[in-house]
Structure formats: structure tokens, C-alpha cells
């Protein structure tokens, strides 16, 4: 309990410290708010419109989660394909890399033309931007399963699927969780850029709306909200990770 309190203090302290630094820099160097507002201004700008903002945040959160959910499923499946089959690896990796080098913001208009303005393109963008890290890490994890461990299963006459679920998947879990941390942040980015480009709600909409009025503090208020939601989801994964793949990190405290 005491240790946990200490941990929370360290985590919170660092973030608070960063904000203080930011606030001080803005005041000290007299940076105009349309360049970079102080965090206090950003937060202050949220308060009067709090009810509206909350609705936007909720919209962004759930589209992000929906896109992220699809990304996890698709990422694991593609990662399994790429990580276990040489021909699929050769065939798919270049395509995936090429696709992911392209800014998704450029694809949003295409999605909008197909699926209309609103939630669907946001979910799809969140998905499209975030599945690749999962593919790469799952594939790498699966490809580095030590053959000895797989042999334990094979010699028992297990099916491929059984060996996969009992050796390859658990072994790849640390890779998978690492990729989730990256993917969730990207999913937020995806949902927001889609909202920036084409939506009537969500933090992205809030930001463009604020930005078209040069209410830059409110733009940064929106950014802060996204960051906070990202951190909250990260915390969920961190807890899951401790539970599920603690075995891989036994050396960390030594």
C-alpha cells in the first residue's frame, strides 16, 4: 500500500512537474497564446464549455475504442499470418509497410466519400492507423518462439492450434502488450484526425472549431483531454500486463 502510494506519487509528480515547467516557460518567455497557450489557459478554456466538451470527449473515446478493438483483432490475425508463414511474410510485409508510411489523414477523405461524414470514418481511421504496430510485434514475438518450447507441444501430438494457443501466444504476450501501448495512442490520433477532417462531434471537431476561431487555448484543452484519456487506457493495459505477463519481467526489480 505504501509502495503503491509512492509509485502513484512519482507518476503524478512527474506529470505535474512537466505542467509547471510548461506554465513557467510560457510566462517567462511571454509566448503568445496563439503559439502555445499555458496549461492553465488550456484548462481554463475548457471549464466554461465543460458540458459540450464532455460530449465530444465521449464521442472520441468510444470511436477510438471501437477502432482499437478492430485493430487488435486484425493486428493479431495479420501478425499471426506474417509471423508464422514465410511466404505470407514476404507477400504482406511490404504492402503493410507501404500502407503505413502513408499519412492516414490523406485517406480520410476517401473514407468519408465512401462512408459519409461522422463516426464510421473515425472508427476506420483509428483502426487503420493502429493495427500495424500490433502486426509487427505479434509477428516478431511469434517468429522468436524457441523451437524447444514448441517441441514440447508437438511431441504430445497437439494440433497446430493447440500448440499456438499454449506456447506461441503466451510467449508473444510481452510483445503484444508492448504493441498495445503504441496502438492505443495511435488509435486516438486516428480518431481525432478523422474528426478534424470530417465530423460534427468529437475532440477533433472541437479542436478545428476552436482553431477556426483562433481559440488556441481550447485546442490545447482538447489535446490535454486526449492525453488524459490515453493515459487512462494505458493504465488499464499496464495493470493487465502485470497480471498476464509478469513472468517475463521477473528480472526487473532485481
Amino acid at each position: 500500500m505504501n509502495l503503491r502510494t509512492r509509485d502513484t506519487l512519482i507518476a503524478a509528480g512527474a506529470s505535474v512537474g512537466l505542467f509547471v515547467l510548461w506554465e513557467l516557460s510560457v510566462r517567462l518567455f511571454k509566448i503568445p497564446p496563439f503559439v502555445l497557450p499555458a496549461p492553465s489557459q488550456a484548462i481554463a478554456s475548457l471549464l466554461p464549455v465543460w458540458g459540450v466538451v464532455l460530449g465530444h470527449a465521449w464521442q472520441t473515446l468510444w470511436t477510438t475504442l471501437a477502432g482499437f478493438g478492430i485493430a487488435v483483432v486484425a493486428g493479431v490475425l495479420l501478425g499471426a499470418a506474417v509471423g508464422t508463414s514465410k511466404p505470407l511474410n514476404l507477400a504482406l510485409y511490404p504492402i503493410l509497410v507501404g500502407f503505413n508510411s502513408v499519412p492516414k489523414a490523406a485517406l480520410v477523405p476517401v473514407l468519408v466519400l465512401w462512408f459519409g461524414i461522422g463516426t464510421v470514418p473515425a472508427i476506420l481511421t483509428a483502426f487503420l492507423i493502429s493495427f500495424f504496430p500490433i502486426v509487427v510485434n505479434v509477428a516478431t514475438g511469434l517468429a522468436s518462439v524457441p523451437p524447444e518450447l514448441r517441441e514440447v507441444l508437438r511431441v504430445l501430438g497437439s494440433s497446430r492450434l493447440e500448440a499456438f494457443t499454449r506456447v506461441s501466444i503466451p510467449f508473444s504476450m510481452p510483445y503484444f502488450f508492448a504493441s498495445l501501448k503504441v496502438a492505443i495512442t495511435l488509435a486516438f490520433v486516428g480518431a481525432v484526425i478523422s474528426e478534424i477532417a470530417a465530423s460534427q462531434k468529437g475532440i477533433g471537431y472541437l479542436m478545428t472549431s476552436a482553431s477556426s476561431q483562433f481559440n488556441v487555448p481550447l485546442v490545447f484543452g482538447g489535446l490535454l483531454l486526449i492525453a488524459i484519456m490515453g493515459i487512462a487506457l494505458y493504465a488499464v493495459f499496464a495493470i493487465l500486463e502485470r497480471r498476464l505477463v509478469g513472468w517475463a519481467y521477473r528480472g526487473q526489480n532485481a
Binding site: 503568445p32 496563439f34 503559439v35 464549455v49 459540450v52 477523405p109 468519408v112 466519400l113 459519409g116 461524414i117 477532417a197 470530417a198 460534427q200 472541437l206 478545428t208 472549431s209 476552436a210 482553431s211 477556426s212 476561431q213 483562433f214 481559440n215 481550447l218 485546442v219
Partner: protein
Amino acid sequence: QSRTNVRFTLDFAFQGPTAPFLLAQDKGYYSAEGLNVSIDRGFGSADAISKIAAGNYDMGFADFNSLIEFNTRNPNNQLLAVFMVYNTTPAAVFAIKGKGIARPTDLAGKTLAAPAGDAGRRLFPVFAEAVGLDASKVNFINVDVPLREPTLARGQADGITGFYFTSFLNLKNVGVKPEDLVIFKYGDYTQDLYGNAVVVRRDFAQANPQAVAAFLRALVKGFKDVIANPDEGVAAVKRRDGLINEALERERLLLALNTHVLTADSRAFGLGSVRRERVERNIRAVVKAFDLNTTLRVEQVWSERFLPPIAERRVTGPAR
């Protein structure tokens, strides 16, 4: 009786100048005409035109010059302008006083920043020709919309192009005093260029001529109401986007109305109408400035058969 659905996109965000469209909706003018109208914000004129052409929307509010370009490049997917809202283009060049730019010809050798698709930037050659400036002597930088006015304020460009009522207020917002500004409104140097119009996909107009006409009847009422009572218009905007600053949007609305809507032409011929020879000159100017290879006929970009009778469209100004 069955109501006709009209999906309508604005050119940009819900802001003061879009109040007539919104107020007409709030007051039930579209419904009264048997229309079921939905209005979405837009992401620039070019984007709005693409979306209407692709069938995501049926009608919209977009730059006439962009429409000319689109129709030239996509002869199979043409749109029509059916109601001219901005009788002169709101495009303008902004610079800071005392930095060597006093007259338009001083822009030679200078750097201007603007979004790639900005009307003022695309139409700059027309303006340049009108003022006797070699457009190729002016250097342009692409900046995203949110960066345009800050770029000028920070001195990272000598000037910017933008819609008069947008950039003027944005510059005020980033701390540039109006009295420190040098502004060249294109409309003050050339009468060849129109601004934003109500546009419709040609096949939609053909299939639903009554709906288009009905839309315009309702819209004219909206305009009249907003001109008579701008505050009511701003309230309609506020209902769409709770984040707007009402005083700012009121100012923007009045600038747009008094400078670009309530012009001599619209007092003479009524709201929404154009002069044919101006349209022809406009097309020629665009073809030259945009380096297009065919010149369209007026009928390929404009139709006035949906306009309400002139009596309904008569206005006096100004709004206050």
C-alpha cells in the same frame, strides 16, 4: 405528400456568414417548402465540391471559381452554381504596415503564405494582372489554415491571402491591430471575380428542380431575416456550435454581408443573381490563372432558372 431530402454542406465551419442557411432551417423555411434539409459544416470549398460531386451531398456553399475549375477538369461530373452569395470575391491580400508594402505592386519579390487551395492564392494571378504586377515575382508558401494568420503575425511571411472577413478577424485575434494592416481586397481592383455560391449537382438539379427552387426561396427568407436582425443569425450559429464567440461572429457576419453580399449589383438585380458578362470574364480569368485548357460556356457553370422572382430578392443595405 413526400418531402424531398436535401443534404447540404457549408464551405467551412459554422460561422457568422453561414447564418442565413442556418436561420432558414431553424425558422422552418425549408420545411415549409416541403424540404427535409440537413446542413453539415464543410472543410474548404474544394472539399465541399468534391463531396457534392461524389454524391455525399446534394447541394452546398462553395467558391464559384473552384467550381469552374472542377467542371473543367471533370466534364462528366459537373456542378451548377444557382445562387451567387458573395457578389465579389472576398479574397484579399493582408500585410503589415511599415514593412515595405504599401501598394499592390510592392508585393513583387515578397513571400506570401496561404493554404494551397485558398481562393486568394489561386486567384492571385487575376489580381496581379489587374494591378500590373508580375505574379511570378511573388513567392508562395503552403501553410495549413490554422497557421495562416499566425505566420504573418510572427513575421514568417510578408503577407497572406485569405477571405477578407476571415483573415481580418483572425489577425485581430492573434493580436494584430486593424490599423496596422495593409489590405488589398481583390474586389477593389477587379470586377471579374465572383465569390461563393450555392451549388448543386447537375443530376440532382435535373431530377429535383422544384426542390432547388424551393431551397432558394427559403434561403432568401433566411438572408432577409439575418440582414434585418443579425443577432438572430448569430444565435442560429451558436445553436450549431456552442463554442463560438458571438460578438466575433456577429462582426464577421456584418463584414461579409456589407462588403460582399449587399453590393451595388445585388441592390440592382436582387440577391443571388449574376451578370452574364461578368461570369464570362470570370471564366476566362480562371482559365488563364489556373492554366486550364478549355473554356466553359456560362450554362456549364451557372443557371438562374431556380432563382425566385426578383421582387422576392430585392434588398437594401446595409445590415447592422
